[in-house]
Symmetry: C2
Subunit: 281 residues, 2 copies
């Protein structure tokens, strides 16, 4: 497996593959790979001739008080894991290879980005849109793989791809969970043992919601309140949001019907975790 | 020459050409072609295997009080002219082929778009960036051609192409002028005979500026004031802006040196015309 750190190198690699008609699958990541990322890469491996993963902790999607500097990084380990699941090339540039000092362009996806994580992380999705656009133009993939765990990100990127006519297909891969249900995330590493146990409350509250809805509950407020109640019983947890919304638009619903997304963000100690479930009622 | 009106058709055409390694030159236009557009197409004809021109009056770059509805359109004539200069395919979609009702993405190029035309046409460059990005992703050209007449547009697009890593080269083609110096523009058609005569004041004031600078004048304010004086002598003219700015950043200059752009926008009757000259001092 090759590791490229410059745009010109990775483009040359891709060009040589496209010239012989090979299909490119692309998995953008911020590295510190876990089973969630690897499931994207395995899926990409099945659908494409060439699989490229990017490993880039993107500064523009972190707020000034967020964890850009402390975000975990381990390129050697990442490269090993990526190679094991059949990735052909890793693109791991430094920040100044990606952003030049005169950069002035921003991309907004209006509406979708005001809600859920967008409300408490201003600028986050603008940073996501810029880096994803840049990587799409550099890699020019046929398929690009994203995890359902970042449900809002998935919707924002799909909308952007449609609006800007990117010539590629977005593939969404299900959430990978630990045995006790915790959604796998690079940020789980921040949790101490006590917090790790407390963190199961995110998944458990989603399961509670699913059960309530399966039993016929159709008022979003009731479901949200029961989830909030359960989470509040966990002393280490602090709720950012718990919401039942429409899947495509992320608009709040009062009555639960059709395709809904139940999404939450909860601080466990100092670590902000997210999780979600999609249901069709 | 082929005329395509759907994205899927033009993409299929392009795919067939790329498959055999042909280079694509692209000339985006709003139609009602004149010698300025044709000079772009001729330039594209020289550099590429395949030349594609788009003809699309882009609603998102017009303000609510601007001339979107009245903007001149004549596809049959345009197709004839494009064919004459060797264009291989015209892409002429309807607005609803390009913009769907849920479109939510905007692109901003900060700094460059606040100045000159950006100051008096809010949203104009956002609309330009969106349509150009969409067309770049649909056509995937190797080279794209723009006229120097829209000097600010050229800078904004070059910045966006760099910031989003579009895999193409922007080629800038000089302004084409009538015999009396008037820059050729689709909007010249709005001018009655008297206004047409008055409109030469734009070019004449630029020529005055050039002469003053050649004679050693180095104060931007002096040059701007003399231009303004000349334009104000023309009763049909009403100045929007007259500015001496740095070529790359569009920032105002006080002392004229290095690479400068002298740009102006002037209403002649109800028609807003722009023109510019680039100098290196």
């Amino acid at each position: 497996m090759e590791i490229y750190t410059t745009i010109s190198e990775i483009k040359e690699f891709i060009k040589s593959k496209k010239l012989v008609g090979e299909k490119i699958g692309f998995v953008p990541t911020m590295g510190y790979l876990h089973q969630g990322h690897l499931s994207l890469m395995k899926e990409a491996r099945q659908d494409n001739d060439i699989v490229i993963a990017s490993i880039f902790v993107n500064p523009t999607q972190f707020g000034p008080d967020e964890d850009y500097d402390e975000y975990p990084r381990d390129l050697d380990r990442d490269a090993e894991l990526a190679a094991e699941v059949g990735v052909d090339a890793v693109f791991a540039p430094e920040a100044d290879e990606i952003y030049d000092s005169g950069a002035a362009t921003t991309i907004q996806v209006e509406g979708l980005t005001d809600k859920l994580c967008g409300a408490c992380r201003p600028g986050h999705f603008t940073g996501v849109c810029i880096i994803v656009s840049k990587l799409f133009n550099i890699i020019a993939p046929d398929h690009a793989y994203f995890g359902q765990k970042d449900a809002q990100q998935v919707l924002v990127i799909k909308r952007m791809v449609k609006d800007l006519n990117f010539d590629l297909e977005i593939v969404i891969v299900p959430i990978v969970r630990e045995e006790d249900g915790l959604a796998i995330s690079s940020r789980n590493k921040y949790l101490n043992q006590e917090e790790r146990t407390a963190a199961t409350v995110l998944y458990n509250s989603l399961e509670l919601a699913r059960e309530l809805i399966e039993q016929g509950e159709n008022k979003a407020k009731v479901v949200e309140n029961k989830m909030v109640e359960m989470i509040k019983e966990e002393p280490l947890a602090k709720i950012d949001y718990v919401e039942v919304v429409k899947q495509e638009t992320l608009e709040s619903v009062t009555k639960i019907k059709d395709k809904i997304l139940i999404a939450l963000a909860v601080y466990i100690g100092g670590t902000r975790l997210i999780d979600n479930v999609m249901l069709e009622v």
